[in-house]
Structure formats: C-alpha cells, structure tokens
C-alpha cells in the first residue's frame, strides 16, 4: 500500500521512537494502579520477602511484585510485610503453628541470588501451611536484570495456577492509548506495558487519534486504527520494530481490527462500498471477504475462539445490538436482547463470555454467558467502553471516565475486584489485554 512521503517520514519517526522506547522502559512514566475495591472472598496468603544472597544488590523486589499480583487478582489477600511472624528462608525454619494462627493457608517464599556475572538465579516455593507441604518449587537460572520483573510475573502465574487451577495472566501485557495535552496540542500515544502497568513502552505517537489496538494471537503484532492519513486506516505493527504497515486504507471507514484466533485473518469494518460492513482480510493475500451485507451499520467484530463465528454490532434494529454470523453458513442471529443498546462485543478467550457495552443509566460493561445466556452488568463506573479480556478470561480491562478523565479499570469477571489504571499527566483509553507472553503449560 503506497504512502505519501511526508506521512511516511512522519510515520517512520514515530515508529522509530516507539521502537527505541522498547529498549528504554524505565524512562517512561508508569501506569498507576489503584486497587479500588475491597475484596470479600480473598484468601489470606503470606509472601515472605525473598532471601537475597549473592554479590549483587537485587534491583527488583520480586516478592513485592508477586504479592501485588496476587492482591490484584482479587483472589488473595496477602499479609502486609509487617504482619509476618517471621521470615523463614527454608522449610526447616518454618513454624507452621505461627502461620496457622494467622489464618494463613499458604506461604510463598524464595530467594534471589545476584551472581558475579550480573545474572540472577531465583527460586520460589509455595508452602501449604495446613497440610505442611511444599506444593510448588521452581527455579530460574541466569536471568538478566531486565527480565527480573517478568520472572516475578511468571512466578505469580505459576503460583496462581497452582493455587487456583487457572493459569495466571500476570506475565502479560497491556496495550492502551494515552492522551496528553501538551503545549495546547493533543498527543496520542499507543503504549504497551506489563500487566501491572509497569514497564510502559510507547509504540506509536501521534497527534491524531489512535484507536482500537488489537493484539495478534501470538503477541508479536498490534493492529490499530490511526488517522495519520487524514482518514481512518488500519495499521499492523510488529512489536519487535521490524515492520509496520497500513493494511486497510479504503475510502470511507477503515476500523475495528480483530485478529482471527489463528492470526491469519483480520476482521475489520469497512465502508468502501458506501455502508459499514464487516470484512475479513486474509493477512497473507490481503484478500477481502465481505461478511455482512446489510444496509445498517455493522462494526466491531470479535471472533469466537474456534474462528467459526463472528460477533459484531449492528444497528439494523434501530439501536445497536449484538449479532453473530456463522462463517460457514453465513447464518446471522441476534445475540443480545437485554436493553436497548448493546455494542462493542468482545469474546473471552475461553469462549464463555461475551462482554459488551450496555446502555443502562449510562454505559457499563455487561457480560453475557454464552453457555447459559445469563446476562449481568459487571461495572458501575461512568462511560465504560472498550472491554478486553485477560488471556485467562478471568479478568477484564476496560476504559472508563472518572472526573472527566479517561482511566482504565480492571475487574474480575466474577466481580471480585477492581483496580484503576491511570496516568498522572493524562488520560488512558482503548485498552487491549495481550496474550500470554509465555504460553501456559
């Protein structure tokens, strides 16, 4: 797809900037996470500060990261450090009764060793206080300093999987768009951070809006909508900085990209034929398949996990409602029936929940259980939009508006917890929760 030179140059600058930012993570201002709601059924757990050995000081507080992750999940209520009765470093030093009286079920402990070569060795273990057993023990060897946080997230995932049976989604990333007003100018930045908001890296800066980031299933690419050409187009950008290309620059609307589960196709909304309809683009051949053929607006497609069905939003009934199409039979069916307005459907990775923006005294995120048709409104924040599931389908990030300021919120699909992700100097919008960085075993 040909780009004009000026825009191309501009584009490259942004892209280069973004690319560079990947290698300078600590420079960038972090998302601040507030765990806003108290969690009722969270289980007490003790994360003992990791024993630090070796010659090099440890740059990251691994146990703090783990503790924070567990707290964020809404399922655990880690003891504060000052509440710990002791800081055992090994099983031999563990006096179970002391922990039992604190109503602690599990103790997480471990060690970090800074090696002379600048790499780190880590180990973690999970002790079942009541059964007086170690239920998890794992080691990481030769970890570079830059990956310590990631190891901490991996540990969190392992612990989470061990204790809940569900893979954790800590070692994942978020993509989102920040909006900052600087010098009377609005600056849009597409950023990628760790799931805990740390380690943010700009992917794209623009003074034009950036919308609808979508992770490729392998986590290597982001598709998003920019207005850098003056009208909307869909761009696919490789996160390793190797490639960036506009894949849809048709006349009219080019929006709402959604990767198929196998990553070979991109569903998107185009109005090149005069009316917004859903198309599927083969990413190898760039061939388009027009999916919906209706005079009404069809947009915001999302794939079922098996890639056989597309869910999308259509206003053919006068108000937006969710429809689905069987891609083998082209059979269309209405899916949402609750209320007058249901838009922006997102299918959970496990195929169970369809999240949507539901208008009901404002806009909230609602979940429809695909298995049994249950419908429940998940949020009570203001102007909620752009829901996106964590890869373990356990949590959901969405954009909302608080005090006139765009922020992100994370909720458990069971409504157990919520947390706010915000930046100090601007607004955060258009979240997209990325896939597992290391696929769960």
């Amino acid at each position: 797809m040909p780009l004009n030179t000026k825009k191309s140059r501009h584009f490259i600058v942004i892209w280069a900037c973004a690319f560079m930012s990947l290698f300078a993570p600590s420079v960038y201002a972090s998302l601040v996470i507030e765990i806003s709601d108290g969690v009722e059924n969270a289980l007490p757990i003790a994360v003992v500060p990791f024993q630090q050995t070796g010659v090099v000081s440890i740059p990251e507080d691994i146990s703090a990261i783990i503790q924070y992750n567990l707290r964020r999940s809404g399922r655990f209520a880690p003891l504060n450090e000052n509440q710990l009765p002791s800081r055992p470093s090994s099983l031999e030093h563990l006096v179970y009764e002391n922990w039992r009286t604190l109503d602690i079920d599990h103790i997480i402990m471990g060690s970090v060793t800074g090696r002379p070569d600048g790499l780190f060795d880590l180990d973690v273990r999970v002790i079942d206080v009541l059964r007086q057993q170690q239920v998890l023990g794992k080691r990481w060897r030769s970890i570079p300093r830059a990956q310590l946080r990631q190891v901490a997230h991996q540990m969190s995932d392992d612990i989470f999987l061990e204790l809940t049976g569900v893979p954790g989604a800590f070692n994942t990333r978020l993509a989102y768009v920040t909006v900052r007003d600087k010098d009377n100018q609005r600056h849009y930045t597409l950023e990628v951070s760790d799931s805990d908001g740390h380690n943010p890296r700009p992917i794209l800066r623009s003074r034009m809006p950036i919308m609808s980031p979508a992770w490729s299933p392998d986590g290597s690419k982001l598709a998003y909508v920019t207005f850098e050409t003056g009208r909307s187009n869909v761009v696919v950008q490789h996160l390793d900085g190797s490639k960036r290309e506009i894949v849809a620059d048709f006349s009219g609307i080019n929006s709402a990209p959604a990767w198929s589960p196998d990553g070979r196709s991109l569903a998107l909304t185009l109005s090149k034929d005069g009316n917004a309809d859903i198309y599927i683009m083969n990413m190898q051949t760039r061939a388009l398949r027009k999916v919906t053929r209706h005079w009404a607006i069809e947009t915001e497609p999302t794939w079922s996990p098996d890639g056989q069905t597309l869910y999308y939003n259509s206003d053919r009934r006068g108000q937006p409602q969710i429809f689905k199409m069987d891609l083998n039979t082209n059979q269309e069916d209405r899916v949402s029936f609750e209320g007058r307005y249901n838009a922006n459907p997102v299918m959970s990775p496990n195929g169970r929940y369809l999240a949507m923006v539901h208008a009901n005294n404002g806009f909230n995120i609602a979940l429809q259980d695909v298995y049994n048709g249950d419908f429940f409104v998940l949020t009570n924040t203001f102007l909620s939009e752009s829901p996106s599931f964590s890869p373990n389908s356990d949590m959901l990030v969405y954009a909302m508006n608080r005090d006139g300021k765009g922020q992100l919120a994370v909720v458990s699909v069971r409504g157990r917890s919520s947390q706010i992700l915000r930046i100090a100097d601007g607004q955060v919008r258009e979240p997209a929760w990325g896939p597992y960085l290391t696929p769960p075993n």
């Binding site: 969270a42 289980l43 079920d105 079942d128 009541l130 059964r131 809940t164 569900v166």
Partner: protein
C-alpha cells in the same frame, strides 16, 4: 354490765340458755358431720378388691352335670322299663284272670250239666216208680184172683193181703222212701241247683267282681297307663324340662364355655397381653437397644455431619471449583479431635488437585474436630463424602 343483768335477769338467763342450746346444737352437729365424713371415708376404704376369677371350676361343674344327666336319663329309662315290665305283668295277670274266669265258666257249665243229669236221673226214677206202681196193681189183682181162687188163697190172700199190706206198706214205705228220695233228690237237685246257681251267682259275682276288679284293674291299668302316660308326659315334660335344663345347662355350659372361652381368651389375652407386654418389654428393650443403636447411629451421623459441617465451614479456596466436585475424606484424628492426617480418596472427575488440597486444608483448619455426643462414638478414622 352487772346492773344490766340485775335489771333484766330473765332476759339474761334466757339469752344464756339460748346460747347454750345453740352451742350444743352446733357442737353435736359438727361432731355428727365429722363422724359422717369419717365413716364415709371408712366405707370407701372398705371397698373390696376385685380379684380375677379362676375359670377352671365351671368347667368341672359342667363335667359332673353331664354324668348326672346321663344317670338321670338312665334312671328314667330304667323306670320306664320297670313300668313297661309292670304293665306287661298286669296284662299277663289280666290274661290269667280271664283264663281263670273261663275255667270257672267251664266249671259252672259242667255243674249245670251235672244238675241236668241229676234231674234226668230223678225223672227216670219217677218213671221207674210208676212202672212199679203198675206192677203193684197187677200184683193186687193177682192177689185177689189168688184170694178168690183159694181161700187158702184168703189166707194166702190174707197172707197175701198181709203180704200185700205189708208189701203195700213196704211199697208205700218204698214209695214214700222213693218220694222221699225223689224229694230228697229234687231237694238235692234244687239245693244243687241253688248251690250251682249260688255258685254261678257267686261265680258270676265273682267274675263280675273279677271283671270289676279287672275293670278296676284295667282302670287302674289305664290310670296307671294314664299315669304312666302322665308320667311319660311328665317324664317327657321333665325330659323336656330336663332337655330344657340340659339346653339351659347346655346354654349355661355354652355360656360358661363361652365364659370359659372368654376367660380363656381373656387369660390368653392376658397371657398374650403379658406375652405382648413381655415381648413389648423385650421389643421395647430391643427398640431401646435399636433406638440406642439408632440414636448412636444418628448421633454418629450427627457426629459425622458435625465434622462435615465444620469442615465445610472451614472450606475455602481461591480456585474455581465445580459444584459437582466431590471426594471422600479419610481423616485420622486424635481422641481430642486433633487431625493427624487426611487423605482425599475416590474423587470424581470434577475434583481438581486444587479441590482436593482445599478439602484437606479445610479438614486441618477444622481441627480440632467436634467431639461426639457419646464418647464411645469417637472414631479415630473418620470417612465421609465431602462436597463443598
């Protein structure tokens, strides 16, 4: 006061007397009523204690009666037989009397025949005497002829006369004798006849008497028969009565029997009751045992369910657990309820490792486990199905 008495001595006296009388009346009344109450109380104390009747005697009485009835019947039958024999004897006697009457009649006839014979004999004598008289006349004529013929003849005649006179005299004597004899014979015959008649009369009278006697006897017999009949009637009456009596007795017996049966039944009932009571007692004991067992079982159940409940109370997990997940928990505990160990066994497909571990943790968290209501119910090894 004294002045009042002095002023109205009569009134005071009469008032005193009246009070005394009233007082006496009240006192006696109270005593009487008290005595009454006491007596009544005594009467009510004297109430006889009802004792259960012994029911074997009526049965014995009945047995004796039967014998008696048989005896009586036998006696009646014997009497009947004797009466019949008597009747037969009377009939025989009557027959014999008749025979005798016939004999007497025959004898009378023979007597009459004999009198006839005598009469005929007397007639023959008279004819013989007439023939003699003819012959005597012939002789006279011959004598005359002889007197005529012979003066000699006169002598002869005289002789003959003399003879003849003599002879006449003799004949006369003879005749007279014969007449006398005839008269005698007639007399005799008459006498005989009279005698026979008397005899016949006597016989007739006798027979009459006999007949009368017979009749009398017959009447008596009849009377006897009637009596016998009456007796028989009476007998039958009596028999009837007896029958009635028997029937009554039978009824009585039946009643008694019924009573006895009832009593037997009652006894049986009582026995059954007693047996039932005994059985009931045993049953009750058994039931008590069973209910104790059951109670123990239910106590055990409630013990187990108390444990299960406490485990469930202590159930918590961060994991998502299927509501269908279940395992058997095999718990080993100390007598004070402290959990020594716990294992999950026979888990179903929904029971994830997280569920199993959480269940085991719940058991440990529930330690010490609730104590049983009864110490004997304590089980060191407890096993139950756990479902959150």
């Amino acid at each position: 006061m004294m002045s009042f008495i002095k002023r109205y001595p009569l009134s005071t006296l009469s008032a005193l007397v009246l009070h005394l009388v009233l007082g006496l009346a009240l006192t006696s009344n109270w005593l009487a009523s008290d005595a009454q109450v006491f007596k009544m109380a005594q009467v009510s104390d004297d109430k006889p204690v009802t004792e259960p009747r012994i029911m074997s005697q009526p049965m014995e009485t009945f047995a004796v009666d039967q014998q008696l009835v048989a005896q009586q019947l036998q006696r009646i039958q014997d009497q009947e037989q004797a009466k019949q024999q008597e009747q037969a004897r009377l009939v025989e006697e009557a027959r014999k009397t008749e025979e005798r009457l016939a004999q007497i009649r025959r004898e009378q006839e023979a007597e009459a025949r004999r009198a006839e014979q005598a009469r005929r004999e007397a007639d023959i004598e008279r004819q013989r005497l007439a023939a003699e008289r003819q012959r005597a006349a012939e002789e006279q004529r011959r004598a005359e002829e002889a007197r005529k013929l012979a003066q000699e003849a006169e002598r002869r005649r005289q002789q003959a006369e003399q003879q003849a006179v003599q002879m006449t005299k003799e004949a006369e004597a003879r005749r007279q004798q014969a007449e006398q004899q005839v008269a005698q014979i007639a007399q005799e015959g008459e006498r005989r006849r009279q005698l026979a008649e008397a005899e016949a009369q006597r016989i007739a009278a006798e027979s009459d008497r006999q007949r009368q006697a017979e009749e009398q006897r017959l009447r008596e017999l009849e009377a006897l028969q009637r009596q016998a009949q009456l007796q028989a009637q009476q007998e039958s009456e009596r028999q009837k009565q007896l029958q009635e009596q028997i029937r009554q007795q039978e009824l009585e017996r039946a009643r008694l029997e019924a009573q006895a049966v009832a009593a037997q039944k009652l006894r049986e009932q009582l026995e059954a009751e007693a047996l039932r009571q005994r059985l009931a007692d045993e049953e009750a004991a058994r039931q008590r045992e069973i209910s104790r067992q059951r109670e123990l079982v239910s106590l055990r159940e409630s013990y187990i369910s108390a444990i299960s409940a406490k485990v469930r109370e202590n159930w918590r997990t961060p994991a998502e657990i299927s509501s269908e997940a279940q395992c058997e928990l095999a718990i080993t505990q100390e007598p004070n309820g402290r959990v020594i160990s716990v294992r999950t066994e026979n888990c179903n497909a929904q029971a994830t490792p997280q569920f199993r571990q959480a269940a085991e943790r719940a058991v440990f968290r529930a330690s010490p486990l609730p104590q049983p209501a009864v110490e004997e119910l304590f089980e060191r090894n407890i096993r139950f199905i756990f479902k959150p």
